[in-house]
Symmetry: C2
Subunit: 426 residues, 2 copies
């Protein structure tokens, strides 16, 4: 474990850069621009703006003055139309956050949203030394609850053509409707495109080796839905003097045994806690079967000393860990400050492995900092939400002018006409 | 419009293949396997299974007998552990479908889920002839409701360095916190990677030209979250004798004016309705400003005669349109059979353009058949959901054995130890 003391905020992002996973060829032309801008920032943007938009900007940020000037140019009628539309959109979007009932945004304009199960889903379960039947539960149970008609599972056979029985058992208990002996990228391809034997699915879930991961990335690039990007497993622990160092060490090692590319981060307000936990790690490591993996992943790992618990949480929000254990005083209160994490474990009696299997939360979670924008798997992952609207003549007449004005301002006269032609009708 | 009469169910998939959008280079090795399996199906799978897994299978589908044999091999203790874990997972996953309160899956095991706004989001708004300020509303309003701290907007400047005022006005009304004059792929790159001027965001939204689309696809391939894959806009209408053909024609044309690559599909149980609508299209077309686009997109479009309304909806579920208008008798009843669509417009007073602007539903919707697995944009798109768990010693003791047994069966002894070490503590 690399030890870092009181890192400056400006260094946090760099501190938490994950080891780059291999990712080869891409479409050349766009990538060249992406890399250019990623490496050279504003200069590249300015050059590209110059080349493509034929303009050289002094500042690319729009000033308040430019915004004010724009506001002054808008005709009152258009402002009103935007306001009315905004209000309706606001009403509905607030409304559909949770209960999926119908509402009227205006009299005669009834709108609603319905969760509809994705008809056909594919689950990938890796083979190899550790048969991940717990992942069968974590994927197939929410798929069943969602009401997916077809839940198919692919997993590689062993050299005798067999599949680990625990995987088959779990699948048969949890509503999987078809199981196939296919591994690697070819399984992803089969589920995506279909074969003579396997009908294609509409979304693919599950962990895998680098072939599977690359296949999922490639279909995601083409717009095909996947659960989330895959990456090595991670655990961060925030610990203070209150906690038993042996517990923390056991938690960190439980993550490290996943593979040589796993990463753990220990954050504490106490140098003594860090030292005690490291000593416990050394002590427990010798008793582990998979200690070769653990030793290697500890080399990728960090122990960080911070000034306050609040700063520790801020730092951990920048890290955005897959799993976060708060083994400290005021753990539940501190948990309300967590904004980037997959799943959070509160207090010293909440080890990660409890959630990996049995607390009820899902263990398919975003890694590699993706918790900043992705959620873990849930029933939501197995449905899509369709919106509906039913207008009466009176309802349409209430927004007719709004639509006509906005459509016209966007230069879309056929859009305007679809309303106007109805309003002309007696 | 191509006319198709009573298409066989087996031909539906082929009937609805969208014109392929250009997509160039990819990572070679995995793509070769994907294409191989996509083109040659089972044969390729079998060959790859043989090469990689070193086994030749008679059948790749797992038989009932194999499942039964597997079940028989599982020890009762493990079956029980799986059952207990399954029940807890089921309870929680059912529970979190909607109200985000906390619950106990077992006494002393409290679990909950929290919607947390994505801290920083980027919106792209195209420039060009039609200034899509309505899309500013559709993206920035849900972002605001979600509570995103930074909502940044990129849009290309014109030759004089200006941005359309309607876009600036809409942005300033709807909670956008920063606006930049950057267009194309470089805007996506700037928002993704950050520059000296622009801090990076955690998710990117919005439509764009092929450069923007390719940039979004490439970042999606790397696991970066985007709203959804982009494609040409689409509208399907199911119409019967009840409807005014002039209304249907106006709706179809409103979609066609978006661009030469737009597609519309008209499905009806009446040949006369199809003929009347086509006559109305010819009549209205001459009055349209953007009739060049409309004429071209009509060439991509279909008019399909079906036997019954129910069959029409089934066919349309295979098409999975971005927008679906049900202009027919029993429209609301039929809408309950819709499983694949972005947004549904019920009855003849619900034109698509009403929803494009002002009914309150979102107009950022999945195209190209992606409605089979993707949802439109909503407040959900701007949050991630973090799970939490807090166990007492008693709570952990209730699942300790479950975790130990499952971890051991997966060969993960450090996972087991994280629980055992706690249970040994007095």
């Amino acid at each position: 474990m690399k030890y870092v003391e009181f890192p400056e905020r400006t260094s946090w992002r760099e501190l938490f850069v994950r080891p780059k996973t291999a990712s080869s060829a891409t479409e050349e032309q766009v990538l060249r621009i992406l890399n250019d801008v990623a490496q050279r920032g504003d200069v590249a943007v300015a050059e590209l703006t110059s080349q493509i938009d034929k303009v050289n900007l002094d500042s690319i940020r729009v000033s308040t003055a430019e915004i004010e000037a724009a506001r002054a140019q808008i005709k009152p009628e258009l402002k009103l139309a935007i306001k009315i539309a905004s209000e309706n959109i606001r009403k509905f979007h607030k409304f559909v956050i949770c209960p999926e009932d119908s509402m009227e945004t205006m009299p005669g304009i009834r709108v609603w949203r319905k969760s509809v199960p994705i008809e056909s889903v594919g689950l990938y379960i890796p083979g190899g030394t550790a048969p991940l039947f717990s992942t069968v539960l974590m994927l197939a149970i929410p798929a069943s609850i969602a009401g997916c008609k077809r839940i198919i599972l692919c997993t590689p056979p062993d050299k005798n053509g067999n599949i680990n029985p625990a995987i088959l058992y779990a699948a048969s208990e949890c509503g999987v409707t078809e199981i196939y002996k296919i591994g690697g990228a070819q399984a992803i391809a089969a589920m995506r495109y279909g074969t003579q034997t396997i009908s294609p699915v509409y979304k693919i879930f599950g962990p895998g080796n680098s072939w599977v991961t690359m296949a999922k990335q490639l279909i995601a690039k083409d717009g095909f839905p996947i659960d989330m990007p895959a990456g090595p497993s991670e655990l961060a622990v925030f610990a203070d003097e209150r906690v038993n160092p042996a517990f923390v060490a056991a938690d960190l090692l439980s993550q490290c045994e996943h593979g040589a590319d796993s990463q753990v981060v220990l954050v504490s307000t106490s140098k003594k806690v860090i030292e005690d936990v490291r000593a416990q790690i050394e002590f427990q490591l010798s008793g582990l079967l998979r200690n070769e993996f653990a030793t290697k992943s500890l080399e990728n790992s960090l122990a960080i000393l911070v000034q306050t618990a609040e700063q520790g949480i801020e730092l951990l929000n920048e890290y955005a860990p897959e799993h976060l254990i708060l083994a400290c005083d005021r753990a539940e209160l501190l948990s309300t400050r967590v904004v980037n994490a997959g799943s959070v474990f509160i207090g010293e009696w909440s080890p990660e492995s409890a959630g990996d299997y049995a607390t009820g939360t899902n263990h398919t979670l975003p890694t590699s900092g993706n918790a900043k924008g992705w959620s873990g798997v849930s029933v939501d992952s197995f449905v899509k939400k369709i919106t509906f609207q039913k207008l009466t003549r009176e309802g349409l007449s209430q927004i007719a002018r709004t639509v006509e004005v906005m459509a016209e301002a966007e230069g879309l006269l056929a859009h305007r006409n679809a309303v106007s032609i109805r309003m002309k009708q007696q």
